[in-house]
């Protein structure tokens, strides 16, 4: 299977996850989107060196992955490229920010190292939250929720189209690479001089397809509105879910819960 082929499968399997009909999938999308936004705001609000406080935020992905039956290993595997990128960006921190904070097992700990670790975990948490949302909510439902939040129609439509465009582009890339391989057997990868035309082809073709899909949507009456289909838990339960998480996350944000619990046990 080609690289893009694998990527398409990943996207589809994420969509499959979102349609399993577990309890989490049946929570009203509005509640899930709001909780995710709230969680992102809280995670980002931690200071550069506040790794201890940040740790408390791990509660959200951990609990939801258990409740939603979402495999953490799968999630990490899928997030790998993003995490790798953040690591690379974060590596600059220890180089520039060398103020000594103390030693740990004979190793010098600088504030740069601390901020690198903090940045890393912020990213992990943010990506995990987005992943959980995607694994429990279809793109249409997310768009529906965003519209309910009065995000402008044009932005939501663009978001949906970018998502569809991404899928189209991967499909095109997959098709082109398959066609290339079939006619260039025994070659590993793609010859350098074919990169240009192939990339150009891919862009043009996927733009055409995205255009066609958009046309197909407008021809069938799409005017930027999204509709919610399917069965959801009663609204009161969804509201309870949203408010519950908002409160729990706020507590974990502003109180060092882990430390309090720890000190209770130690004393």
């Amino acid at each position: 299977m080609t690289g893009p082929g694998r990527a398409i499968r990943e996207i589809h399997s994420l969509e499959d996850l979102a349609e399993r009909g577990t309890f989490l999938c049946r929570i009203h999308p509005l509640a899930k989107v709001l909780v995710t936004i709230w969680y992102l705001i809280l995670v980002m609000s931690f200071g550069k060196y506040d790794i201890e406080g940040l740790w408390g935020m791990s509660i959200y992905p951990v609990i939801l992955m258990i409740l939603g039956d979402i495999s953490a290993g799968e999630a990490i595997r899928r997030m790998r490229p993003i995490l790798l990128m953040v690591c690379l960006v974060g590596l600059a921190n220890p180089l520039f920010d060398r103020e000594l904070l103390g030693t740990f097992g004979g190793m010098k700990i600088t504030s740069g190292m601390l901020s690198m670790v903090t940045l890393f975990f912020k990213t992990v948490f943010a990506v995990a939250a987005a992943y959980i949302l995607m694994a429990t909510t279809t793109m249409e439902q997310i768009c529906y929720a965003l519209r309910k939040l009065h995000v402008p129609q044009i932005l939501v439509t663009v978001l949906l189209l970018i998502y569809r465009y991404l899928v189209m582009m991967l499909k095109e890339a997959d098709r082109i690479m398959q066609a290339y391989r079939l006619r260039a057997p025994g070659e590993r990868g793609i010859r350098k001089d074919a990169w240009g035309p192939l990339a150009g082809q891919m862009l043009l073709r996927s733009m055409d397809r995205a255009q066609a899909v958009y046309e197909s949507m407008t021809l069938r009456g799409f005017r930027g509105e999204f509709f919610l289909r399917g069965r959801f838990v009663p609204p009161r339960r969804s509201a309870f879910y949203g408010i519950g998480w908002a409160a729990i996350l706020a507590v974990f944000r502003f109180l060092p819960v882990f430390r309090i619990v720890g000190s209770v046990f130690i004393s």
Binding site: I8, H12, E15, D16, E19, T138, E140, R164, R209, A212, V213, E215, S216, M217, T218, L219, R220, G221, F222, R223, E225, F227, L228, R229
Partner: protein, 250 residues
């Protein structure tokens, strides 16, 4: 043909080019009456798909005049025109975009204000008509080529109004004989105006009384389907071959 009935589609001296100066269609006149079923035939690249796309307003930069149900075909009338017009793409991959077949077929009805239940019912009815009710919960991206075609057609049938216009680009392509026959039955049962572009001359023979032949940027024949399908020489001159069923006749 049907002169005394008001025309639903009226095209006067229509010209179209994708690139400046290179006309794909040049000087097309056509009038289609309500409820008529018209086949559009022609070789590869003759402009069949282009013609249909112009009629649904996907290619707005045409020259000449087109009226559909009395509305001039221009941007401000699109929504009124499209409500009564369904269009099946030649390439069904472009047409299907929701996750499951049923969701995709229900997409149109939902947009036109059907309740969730009504949309579901309309979708299931359309799926039954195209013989793929058992595919309702399947994922679109896991369908075979022919199944996708049938799903795409169902998506249009779900929205179709009794007297509406339906345009289909190569509807019978990649269908097996049983599904093809079923599609012929479905098309014949439609009461609205039908324009079907196809190379499948047998299919056109079974579904359309009237046929137009596109060749060299123009309509070179407009008339009785049976008549043109007997004219072997004329068809071959325009890049088509006599359908099998006709070769063995006489």
């Amino acid at each position: 043909m049907g002169q005394n009935v008001e025309p639903v589609i009226e095209i006067e001296d229509m010209r179209f080019c994708y690139r400046e100066g290179r006309y794909v269609l040049d000087g097309v006149d056509l009038s289609v009456a309500k409820g008529e079923s018209v086949g559009i035939i022609g070789g590869n690249g003759a402009g069949k798909s282009t013609f249909l796309k112009i009629l649904v307003g996907l290619l707005p930069d045409y020259e000449g005049r087109i009226r559909i149900e009395g509305f001039l075909l221009e941007k401000k009338n699109y929504s009124a025109i499209r409500r009564s017009m369904g269009y099946v793409f030649q390439d069904s991959d472009s047409q299907l975009f929701m996750n499951t077949v049923e969701e995709d077929v229900a997409f149109g009805p939902m947009n036109y204000g059907f309740s969730e239940r009504e949309a579901k019912e309309a979708a299931l009815r359309a799926l039954k008509r195209t013989n793929i009710a058992d595919l309702a919960d399947r994922h679109v991206y896991r369908l075979s080529g022919g199944e996708k075609k049938l799903a795409a057609i169902a998506g249009i049938l779900a929205l179709q109004q009794e007297e509406g216009i339906i345009l289909m680009d190569e509807p019978s392509a990649s269908l097996d004989p049983a599904n093809r026959e079923n599609l012929i039955r479905v098309v014949r049962e439609l009461k609205g105006t039908r324009l079907l572009a196809s190379h499948d001359l047998d299919f056109i023979y079974d579904t359309c009384e009237r046929t137009i032949l596109l060749s060299d940027r123009k309509i070179v024949y407009d008339g009785d389907t049976k008549e043109i399908l007997r004219d072997r020489e004329f068809l071959e001159k325009n890049g088509l071959r006599l359908p099998l069923s006709f070769r063995f006749q006489r």
